[in-house]
Amino acid sequence: MTTVALKPATMAQALTRGLRDAMAADPSVHVLGEDVGALGGVFRVTDGLAKEFGEDRCTDTPLAEAGILGTAVGMAMYGLRPVVEMQFDAFAYPAFEQLISHVARMRNRTRGRMPLPITVRVPYGGGIGGVEHHSDSSEAYYMATPGLHVVTPATVADAYGLLRASIASDDPVVFLEPKRLYWSKDAWNPEEPTAVEPIGRAVVRRPGRSATLITYGPSVPVCLEAAEAACAEGWDLEVVDLRSLVPFDDETVAASVRRTGRAVVVHESGSYGGPGGEIAARVTERCFHHLEAPVLRVAGFDLPYPPPMLERHHLPGVDRILDAVARLQWEAGN
């Protein structure tokens, strides 16, 4: 294999490469889902896998999400490492009973004797002009289910690294793929992919001193953009990309907020009962005396995801983030 230089790759390409490398490295890795074979998935993430590894390794299943995840459980029981694709966020709901009652619990139910190394890939979130049921941010459900790891990449390199780590994990991982970042590009060397990221470490994407934006997945680029725009207001914003929602990297997040004294949690998911409440609460528990203002949340509204023509009003954008930053009681402190 010849070494090639860094070149732009999309997140979708990095994911494909991650699947391919995992399958090549370990014959027990099997991909299954709707349209993952000849079509290569509706987002083309499984492109070429059926051809390279055969239909037994990359299998078009019947159209039944509980069946897909349920059979994956059985496959994992027998020592395989299934990587399941749910075609869209909302179409993972039929598989919730299998996910909650079995996938998340089998290790626990059997005192550790029957771990289930299953990766459930879920394209999620909006901003792609999808009609109803195609843009849900369902991470709150997964976070509230003990026994699952929940990770979501925001960069091309993380897409590869976190996916490899997820597949390598002996625990089930819900791997949330931000749909609107599938076509985002980054300089990346597909011949020498990034080292596998350990699951559970947040990363500071942009250092700053005024306040911390805590975010993940599709909202990371939005926060970075907001941070750039904030310079004009004299705010130097730090942006923390959580990458893993379970486990949660309290250390990195709390360290940042202790430094800045102010924080806004940003995500697309609905606000009420969404991830932001958990994050704000735990940050406050840990950083109470460092906080100049309550931790605020900028999130999707508490509604069913809107139709395409209205989604821009729903999604947290740069302005809404900066409005929240402005409410961080600047008069009160540093």
């Binding site: 709707e34 349209d35 074979g37 000849a38 079509l39 290569g40 509706v42 078009d60 299943t61 019947p62 159209l63 039944a64 999400e65 509980a66 069946g67 909302a90 179409f91 709901y93 039929p94 002009g129 999808g130 009609v131 109803e132 049921h133 195609h134 725009a229 606000s271 009420y272 509204f301 508490d302 509604l303 069913p304 809107p306 139709p307 395409p308 023509m309 209205l310 009003h313 729903h314 302005d319 809404r320 900066l322 409005d323």
Partner: protein, 378 residues
């Protein structure tokens, strides 16, 4: 299979509970899809019905073509075409009485329109200004349903409720071959049979679920063979033969209306276009297969029959085409206008009354929009 025999004092008893409740034989489908056009049965077909079916088929095809064109012009987010399947779409709509209910899947815009829903309102979902564009109660058409097979239990519940209320209402629910694999399909059919609900399930077996061919979807002799497992009749019909689909559905609707319970109809058809305009069908199927099916085109099948019976001449064809063009032109014109949208509507229909939490969010958006309008914002 086993021969009973007395042994000393021991007389084997059959398990007490064993009473098969229904004779399975009449529930099984015929060996081949039922057809009318080009067969002796065609002579029985009502000319008036054939004319109505024809007009709607031509209109339906034109609708599919127009809607697909609108996706290219950016006027629709996406369109799942039913070209090749118009016979099913049209028959499903025409077979129902006004008081009946239609439960369409996401592919069945055509049936929705054929039932009387305004063509633009039927496309609201796919244009993206709202989810369901029409009032479901106006023409008794449930919202176009995207999560596959989830509309089937709705149809059962509605039909059951109507029967409990003493109303003479039948529900017809549409689903694809892929949708039959979902648990909801199973549960809906089972509830329908146990409750003897007046509902008709129409499976359009168009050969594919996106890229997945039927052979990867089921190993059953036919999808209609699933019916016996619920205790309802399964019927198999040529889905491109509008007269046959109409007849089989009409039988099932009549049976349901008379208290005979549900029926499962499998219509064998083919999706001529890609899954949607966004799909690339060449990745999973060859042109040759498509071509074979073009030879079995629903409009042509009906045209040939009607021509042979002297029910259709060039003038009649032309007038059907003209009517379709009028519809298409109107659709084009109206779809080329931007819909009037009020972002504040986002909050209007989450609950009967917005919660205090939603009111706060509404105020936030209102302030943003006002600031935006004043151009004062940042």
């Amino acid at each position: 299979m086993t021969v009973m025999e007395q042994r000393g004092t021991y007389r084997p008893t059959p398990p007490p509970a064993w009473q098969p409740r229904t004779d399975p034989a009449p529930l099984l489908p015929d060996a081949e899809p039922y057809r009318v056009l080009g067969t002796d049965a065609a002579a029985q077909a009502d000319p008036e019905l054939l004319r109505r079916l024809y007009a709607q088929l031509v209109r339906g095809r034109r609708y599919n073509v127009q809607a697909t064109a609108l996706t290219k012009q950016g006027r629709l987010a996406v369109y799942p075409s039913s070209t090749g399947q118009e016979a099913c779409e049209v028959a499903a709509a025409l077979v129902l009485e006004e008081r009946d209910w239609l439960f369409p899947s996401y592919r069945d815009t055509l049936a929705v329109v054929a039932r009387g829903v305004d063509p633009v309102e039927a496309l609201t979902l796919l244009r993206g200004d709202w989810h369901t564009g029409y009032d479901p109660y106006e023409h008794r058409v449930a919202p176009l349903c995207t999560p596959l097979a989830t509309q089937l239990p709705h149809a059962v519940g509605l039909a059951h409720a109507a029967r409990l209320k003493g109303d003479d209402v039948v529900a017809l629910a549409m689903v694809g071959d892929g949708g039959t694999s979902e648990g909801d399909f199973h549960e809906a059919l089972n509830f329908a049979a146990v409750w003897q609900a007046p509902v008709v399930f129409l499976v359009q077996n168009n050969g594919f679920a996106i890229s997945v061919p039927l052979a990867k979807q089921t190993a059953a002799p036919s999808l209609a063979h699933k019916a016996v497992g619920y205790g309802m009749p399964g019927r198999l019909v040529d889905g491109n033969d509008a007269a046959a689909v109409h007849e089989v559905l009409a039988d099932a609707v009549r049976r349901a209306r008379e208290g005979g319970g549900p029926t499962l109809v499998e219509a064998v058809t083919y999706r001529i276009d890609a899954h949607t305009n966004a799909d690339d069908a060449t990745r999973y199927r060859g042109d040759a297969e498509v071509e074979t099916w073009r030879e079995h085109d629903p409009i042509q099948l009906l045209e040939r029959e009607m021509t042979a019976r002297g029910l259709l001449d060039e003038a009649a064809r032309q007038s059907a085409r003209d009517a379709a063009e009028v519809m298409a032109a109107d659709l084009r014109t109206r779809m080329n206008q931007d819909p009037a949208l009020d972002p504040m509507d986002l909050f209007s229909h989450v609950y009967a009354e917005p919660t205090p939490q939603l009111r706060e969010q509404q105020a936030l958006l209102r302030a943003e929009l006002e600031a935006e309008q004043e151009g004062a914002h940042r």
